[in-house]
């Protein structure tokens, strides 16, 4: 597996404040990488450094195997990006906006431009949008157009900052399907978000940023692997404790956590003892629990000292 994004000791300081404080990102080909962090944790600054918009104070960035920001002209045409919300020229149509963006840089063929624009508009669900100027678009339509701009050159890597912002639930689900489709055809996706649910549904790998530090970087499946305990729901929790003496690790109302990684075995014991069981599941930590355990308090809280 080759590294699609690799940073070493990436630092960005604004005066005395370290917005990004020595992070080592490792995004591999074929990943759907969820880049999580609270507001103000340095996500956007990191994304901007990856794309050569913000220049790092120190550290190295390799994007598709080439050193950024020096190799930007060579590498960035192979990257599609959505950075902090879409932005377009309001008096022009969506199609014209895409054409101008496409013509603004290298690595795009003029002959195929029209066809590519038609394809991506279709792909993001704006196929029938016509010649309406972008200022008449809804927030969701602008978001779709932004995504279309990112897809225009069939990029190998998509860097998306909050891509479902402003979309309704149907829109969010459509975008999720679209991203999974692209991933199946070989696109690596780097998804920066503070929406845990979004990342949990989409991503194969997760990095968690807290106050400019990467506190966690792991396969999602590893993070949410079963803990070796079974969760039992029962109207009579006290009888569970009596029947499975010593194996109960915690009780909370009708929810009892029992040591043992085979729910069937636990179930057999309980049913054998005549205890009614209304629910039974392997215990897995949710992504939220993992993230909260790894990070401190929210960074937009300003505590008095």
């Amino acid at each position: 597996m080759s590294g699609v994004i690799a940073t070493r000791g990436l630092v960005k300081r604004y005066g005395r404040l370290s917005a990004v404080d020595g992070i080592d990102l490792d995004v591999r080909a074929g990943d759907v990488y969820g880049f999580l962090g609270a507001n103000g944790s340095g996500k956007t600054t990191t994304v901007r450094m990856l794309l050569g918009l913000v220049l790092p104070t120190s550290g190295e960035i390799d994007l598709l195997g080439a050193r950024m920001p020096r190799a930007g002209r060579r590498v960035l045409p192979r990257v599609g990006a959505l950075i902090e919300g879409p932005a377009h020229y309001g008096h022009l149509s969506g199609r014209e906006n895409l054409a101008l963006l496409d013509a603004s840089g290298p690595g795009a063929r003029r002959r195929t431009r029209r066809r590519r624009i038609d394809e991506v508009l279709e792909q993001v669900g704006l196929g029938g949008v016509g010649r309406r100027p972008v200022k008449a678009y809804s927030l969701g339509m602008r978001q779709r157009l932004g995504l279309a701009g990112a897809l225009l050159r069939r990029p190998e890597l998509l860097v998306l900052d909050e891509p479902t912002n402003g979309l309704d639930p149907q829109g969010i689900s459509e975008v999720r399907e679209l991203l999974l489709d692209l991933h199946r055809t070989g696109t690596t996706v780097f998804l920066s978000s503070h929406l845990l649910a979004e990342v949990e549904q989409l991503c194969s790998r997760v990095g968690v940023l807290d106050r400019g530090r990467l506190v966690l970087q792991e396969q999602l499946a590893t993070l949410t692997a079963p803990t070796g305990a079974t969760v039992v729901h029962t109207p009579t929790p006290d009888r569970v404790r009596a029947a499975l003496d010593g194996r109960v690790t915690s009780m909370d109302g009708e929810r009892v956590v029992v040591r043992g990684e085979d729910p069937a075995e636990v179930n057999a014991l309980l049913v054998g003892a005549g205890i009614p069981v209304t629910g039974l599941a392997l215990q897995r930590p949710t992504l939220e629990e993992v993230v909260l355990a790894a990070t401190g308090t929210s960074t937009d809280r300003v505590e008095s000292r």
Binding site: L53, I83, A87, S104, G105
Partner: protein, 269 residues
């Protein structure tokens, strides 16, 4: 990239609205002159205006002289001030640079677009002036008159008019360079435009101040009206060449500063 910037600029309704407003003043002046027949006395009012009632062929120059002190610099400062800061405030700058447009390329393309705007605007003002001059006034294309009082052949007059238009465009490049530099400093297009205009107002004010006479030759607006010298007989080159050299220095220094700032700047808009 250059083609893209030109398309953006000239497909924008605001660009044409600016040019239309710019032409409104010379049109109004021409109509008033025709209706009242009251030309300013020679030596008063904008250059050439006193002569247009006698020869309408001079009206393109009168029109340029009318818009040159204020309207034209405002229009140029608006367009040039908007060039980078406008993209930043709209959020499109980050997408252009991540595309990647290349920072130096983008700056050069913006500069060329502003240059095109200056040329188109000056030519349209001159063209509208020509139409006004030949339709509303008595045009005497056969015997053009120089400011010095000698007569000029029509070919001579035409050539000198073109040179004067070129000189006005060069003068406006200085304004454009100030506005473009400020445009790389701020994310507010209005701030960049006002900054450039503040420089011009300060320069015009200092020019009238005797105490500022030691620095007067270096003020950016010092030689603006020297385009009149093209119509002296013979052409009075001294102030014209100084004006071009001065604008050249300003443009060179400011563009270098704009480039140095823009290529090393964190784009956080």
């Amino acid at each position: 990239m250059i083609a893209v910037e030109l398309r953006k600029l000239f497909r924008r309704p605001r660009t044409w609205a600016t040019i239309a407003v710019l032409n409104a003043l010379p049109v109004l002046v021409a109509v008033l002159l025709v209706l009242t027949d009251l030309a300013p006395r020679p030596g008063e009012g904008p250059p050439f205006l006193s002569a247009v009632l006698r020869n309408g062929a001079l009206y393109p120059l009168a029109a340029l002289a009318i818009v040159l002190p204020l309207f034209l610099p405002i229009a140029v400062a608006v367009v040039a001030g908007d060039s980078i800061a406008g993209e930043a405030s709209a959020g499109t700058l980050r997408y252009l640079l991540a595309r990647p447009a290349g920072r130096t390329r983008l700056l050069v393309a913006k500069l060329i677009a502003v240059l095109a705007f200056v040329l188109v605007t000056v030519l349209i003002v001159a063209g509208v002036g020509y139409v006004l001059g030949t339709t509303l006034f008595d045009a005497q294309p056969v015997t053009g008159t120089s400011v010095s009082g000698t007569s000029l052949t029509p070919a001579d007059l035409g050539g000198r008019t073109l040179m004067a238009i070129g000189y006005v465009a060069v003068s406006m490049l200085g304004v454009a360079a100030f506005a473009l530099f400020f445009s790389t400093l701020t994310d507010s297009p209005l701030g960049a435009t006002m900054g450039a205009l503040a420089v011009l107002v300060a320069s015009s004010l200092l020019f009238t101040l005797d105490a500022a006479s030691p620095i007067a030759p270096y003020l950016p607006t010092r030689y603006w009206l020297s385009f009149v010298d093209f119509f002296r007989d013979p052409i009075h080159w001294r102030d014209i060449t100084r004006g071009i050299a001065l604008q050249g220095v300003y443009v060179g220094v400011l563009l270098a500063a704009a480039w140095a700032n823009f290529t090393t700047k964190d784009i956080t808009s």
